[in-house]
Each structure stands twice: as C-alpha cells, then as structure tokens.
Amino acid sequence: MVACPGRVAAEIGTGIGASPIALAAVAHPGHTYRLPALYVVNTGTVVSTYRVRVERLSPGPGRLVPSVWVRVRRNDVPLEPKQSASVPLTLVVPASAASGAYLSDLVVGTEAPRAPSAQAILGAQAATKLMFRVSGSGGGLLGPPPMWAYPALGAALTLAGGVALQRRLGLRLRLERR
C-alpha cells in the first residue's frame, strides 16, 4: 500500500432517528404498508452521500426481515453538513410471509468515494431498529378493506345519519304529482 503524505482534515458523520421504526398494527401477508419516514442527518463537517439498507445488527428475538421487503423510496441522498432528510419507507409483505414478530435494523451510512486513493477510507453508519408483526392469515376477515369500502362506509354513515335526523327532527319530504 503506497501512502501519500498528509491527511484529509474532515469529519464524517451520520445521524439517524433513534426511535425504532415500527408498524403500529399487525401486518398482513400480501399487503403493503407505509412505514414512518426515516430521519437522516449529516453530523459531519463535509458533504456526504447517504444510503439506507436493511441489516440485522440488533440482538433479540424476532424473524429476520428480508431486505427486499423494505423499499427505500429515496436513497443515495447527498447532505450538506448538519442538513437532514426524511427518507420514505414502504413495507411490502409477500403473501408467503410467515407469521410472527420481525426484527431488523435500518442502517444508514456514508458512501465511500469510488476513485482509488491508496488510503483507508473511513465511514460512519448509524442504525435504528425496524419492528413489526405479521398475522397468521393472509388477510382474511380482519384484512385491510378494499378501496370501495371507504366510500361505502361513508355512504352508510350518511344514510344512517339521514334516517336518524329524519326521525329526530321529524323532517318529511313530500312529493306530489299534479
């Protein structure tokens, strides 16, 4: 290894939201969920580009989360010193997913320059937990309702409210043919 004199006076830094990224409800196989966005901040003194990946680092019970289940909608994010970004995440649970608790980590880190430099390039990464549960069924009775269910629910409530209003206020609509 050939060394060059001097050293790069820079501080490489990575920060990540410390609160675990968790899905509040039980996930169902075959469905897609929007996870809370991941907070990423450059705690260093130089511009760095940050990449998010899924890797199990934390000990503890829980199934391993396949990295392909987590879609990072914005990756390779360049950040100025002290600048932060929110990285949207989506969880895609395949229909074949086993039930149970899942645990992994979301790891964000600086990307090393690609050009050879005859040096040891140093990097900084930070991780936070990713946790969720998958139900045993493939979205049966308690699965997410289809899109049409929401306007149907609204229509049902409106109808019921109208009937109740009619009864309570004694309103009548009378049609006469002349």
Partner: protein
C-alpha cells in the same frame, strides 16, 4: 347521544354528533326515541320499513369498524390532511469519524522498518500515533461496531479479501495468503483489537469503547489501524484502497 344534540341553537353540531353517535348505536337510544313520539300507524310502517336500512347501515359500519385501526397506514388507504406547524425534537443516534481517510504510514517486514510501503510477503503497516482516528458516539448511548472491506487495487483488478475473525488465513503459520490481508484496530499505543471482517459477514464489536462495545453519550476514543499484507498479490497495482466503517447501533 351527547348533550349538544338537545340544544336547538347548535343543531348543525347535533347532526354531526348524531352521525358520529351511530357508531355506538344501542337499543336504549331507540327506546328513548319511541317514548318521545306517538307515530301514526302509517308513520310506524315507514319507520319499520326504514329500520332494516338503518340497522344494515349500522351493522355495516360496525363490521368495518373492527378492521384494525392502522388500516389508514396502508398505501391503498385514504387519508385526510391538514397543515400546522410544530417544533419536534427528534432523538438522534449518531457517530462521527475523523478524519475521513488515513494512510498506513508505519510499515515493517519481520521487524525491519520499510517506511510507509507495504512489502511482500506479509509485510505489516499501521497508522502512526500522529495519524490516529477519532470515533465519537453521539448523544444517544448505544454500541459501536466496526467492519472492514476488500482492498481494491487502483486498476480495479483482483481484490485482496479479509481473513482472520473466523475466516481462514491461508498463508504459512496462519498469516494472510495470496490476495488476503488482515486488519485490526486498537488504541493509539495499545495492542490491536479483534480482526475485522467484511460488511457482508457482519460487524465486530469495537472494543476500543468498552469490552462489550457499549458507548456512552458523547463518548469518544482514538484508535490506530493495523493491517497485515498478503503473501503475494495477483494484481500488480502499487496502490490499494480499503474502507473501515464504524456503526452506532441500538
């Protein structure tokens, strides 16, 4: 039914409360309405005729209401939005490493100094006391791991891969073999720590922070980097680049 429902001037509010109240529709509500009115037989028929629709609507609403509350988080779900401004302090787990790159500037072969040049076979290099790396954990206590990576020749040819740390070094007496190298970190004047492994094989506990790699709030350490070169290199490049990465984990 909420108290607002009986107040005339607030009738629009009463309508909203009535609709919302249907989610908890109960027989007692219906009895109350029956006592307060004296419907004619025609009106009673109309009321009876409308009752299945009402009950059906309520049952439909209840059936959908048992759907887990977080359904709104599905990407296919609908949501409403508004705007407001609030300051939120986000707890951050962070780490800083300085400098961003270092040279292995103290090398030797079998105890004979070779300046800052790695020699074959199995020369060794390290960072000098003036060339140490400072790793600082952020405000959140946690653990610090460290991992290495392949050494990549300037021409992009055959990499040197890490050995040690569970990966067999194939040279004589357990030293790195052809296209292999080993890395260890350590205190600025102390003994080297555990062998590094590549990222896809996991990370090593950085014992520079503590024996179990736990790191306190804003704890910083200085470390030197050590490496042992291969018995021989397939690639003839005179410069190789590698990466060391420290990770703050929960």
């Amino acid at each position: 039914m909420g108290p607002h429902a009986t107040q005339g001037p607030r009738r629009p509010t009463a309508v909203i409360m009535t609709v919302a109240g249907l989610c908890t529709f109960s027989p007692a509500d219906e009895e109350g309405d029956s006592r307060s009115s004296t419907p004619t037989s025609g009106a009673r028929r109309r009321r009876l005729a409308s009752r299945p629709a009402l009950i059906g609507a309520v049952l439909g609403a209840l059936a959908l209401a048992v759907v887990p509350a977080a359904r709104a988080q599905t990407t296919s779900g609908s949501s409403t939005s508004g705007s407001s401004t609030a300051s939120i302090n986000v707890a951050v787990r962070s780490i800083t490493v300085a400098p961003g790159a270092v040279n292995f500037d103290v090398c030797d072969q079998n105890g004979t100094a070779t300046g800052s040049t790695l020699t074959f076979p199995n020369g060794r290099c390290a960072t000098s006391a003036a060339n140490v790396v400072t790793i600082t954990n952020g405000s959140a206590p946690g653990h610090i791991d460290v991992q290495g990576a392949d050494a990549i020749p300037a021409d992009g040819g055959t990499h040197w891969t890490l050995c040690g740390g569970g990966i067999l070094c194939t040279g004589n007496n357990g030293v790195p073999g052809q296209d292999q190298f080993a890395e260890q970190d350590g205190g600025p004047n102390g003994a080297p720590g555990p062998f590094l492994v590549t990222g896809d094989r996991g990370a090593q506990c950085d014992t520079g922070f503590s024996s179990n790699c736990s790191a306190g709030s804003n704890q910083g350490v200085t470390e030197s980097l050590h490496m042992a070169g291969p018995s021989g290199s397939t690639d003839n490049s005179r410069a190789f680049t590698t990466a060391w990465t420290w990770t703050a984990v929960p």
